[in-house]
Symmetry: C2
Subunit: 99 residues, 2 copies
Amino acid sequence: MPTQLETAMDTMIRTFHLYSSKEGDRFKLSKGELKLLLQQELMEFLSCQKDPQLVDKIMQDLDANKDNKVDFNEFVVMVAALTVACNDYFVEQLKKKGN
Amino acid sequence: MPTQLETAMDTMIRTFHLYSSKEGDRFKLSKGELKLLLQQELMEFLSCQKDPQLVDKIMQDLDANKDNKVDFNEFVVMVAALTVACNDYFVEQLKKKGN
């Protein structure tokens, strides 16, 4: 039986491949595939973010390699950055409550 | 309703705090807490890894800051690195099968 954390890691892998295999290089996300993934898989989570420019900033950062493609490594870095941002918000709220 | 990817991100946050709150600084993992987390939450997933030294290498890397504590940022980087390693293995197997 995998643990919840193992299932979470498996979900990252499966989600990436679900979208990367839609068109072109099946092991990389095109800009269209990335946009679809963000819209369909991350919109609710992103809404807990206070920075409304966050998604735009991510898109810009990921464009830096200039090939208009996002590999799994870059995708995981993006998910990690979003998770750290949400954790910062969560910890801030906890500290405000004096817990 | 959160998506599976959002649930995965939430799981990373909850898992970290479950262990970091056990003793001392509640927002950082002590070495003991990190070891417990690896043993209880990641052993099955790590077993898909071909490198038997991986956990030792991670521990060594995380010790680099010399305070014997792992913050959430460092934890997420570790989970990301493990996920990339497992994805590499998964893709390699797929390519071997000629899929």
